[in-house]
């Protein structure tokens, strides 16, 4: 296998990290929806935590995406 195709496969593999980010973000917002549906008065208290969780979950997936970009465009 030559280097160019190995790089393509490596970048594709690195993007698998985004699965975790997708699951995590979906989980955060589904929990937010069920929490607010049960107790709408709690929305101002729980919403900041939901967005904090969204940002933290998204960041872990982007580590993988950043690695994919580095493989494709830097090395």
């Amino acid at each position: 296998m030559d280097l160019a195709s190995a790089k393509m496969i490596g970048a594709g593999l690195a993007c698998i990290a985004l699965v975790g980010a997708g699951v995590g973000i979906g989980n955060v917002f589904s929990s937010l929806i069920s929490a607010v549906a049960r107790n709408p008065a709690a929305q101002p208290q729980v919403q900041p935590f939901a967005f904090l969780g969204f940002a933290l979950a998204e960041a872990t997936g982007l580590f993988g995406l950043a690695i994919a970009f580095l493989i494709l465009f830097v090395f």
Partner: protein, 243 residues
Amino acid sequence: MALELRPLEQFKIEPLIPLHIGGLDVSFTNSALFMTIAVVLITALLVLGTKRGALVPGRWQSVAEMSYEFVADMVETNAGHGSEPYFPFVFTLFMFVLFANFLGLIPYSFTVTSHIIVTFALAAAVFIGVTIIGIAKHGVHFLRLFVPEGVPFILLLLLVPIELLSYFIRPFTLAIRLFANMLAGHTMLAIFGGFAASVGFLAIFPVALDVAILALEVLVAALQAYVFAILTCLYLRDALHLH
């Protein structure tokens, strides 16, 4: 159809005013220029916005007051009592990251926070500062931060190294989170821009996707500044109150 994609070109640091002192390259670069613009804009917003000090605030004064109250509330609720002296630091940090992120969203501008050396310098300042505050406030008792209470001795042998590791990894995760978000977002924009340039009249699809990504990037820019500031507050609470 050959795709000529160079999405990382936008992150190139170019010296605008070459300057060498001793063996050091201290040129005024495009990165330094955008940091200066961010600082000037923040100063202008806060100084000019609050100059009149009207009882019923106008538009600029409202923005200045809202950003102040937002961070003040965040520090108060997340870092606990005794955190007031550190509010100016968190406020400065939040405004700088926020303005650097938003300035980077303007086409053909430069994103300061997409360079890990910048975000790591900020995160290292937070980490070192928080550690010094903790040691100055609690002395040797600061080490209790690494020992969870009410845990059997055998488990401590496992938990203390984990706590130590999670403490020392903080500046790296703080820096990489901001840097990777900015890098990935802007690279994605440039890649779809490159697609648009190479597919002729079909360009409407990549451009439409770029618009959607840009909307997400506006959210991410604000959110990452918020996350950076709130994590600083949480680390500060650990140092001030030890759990």
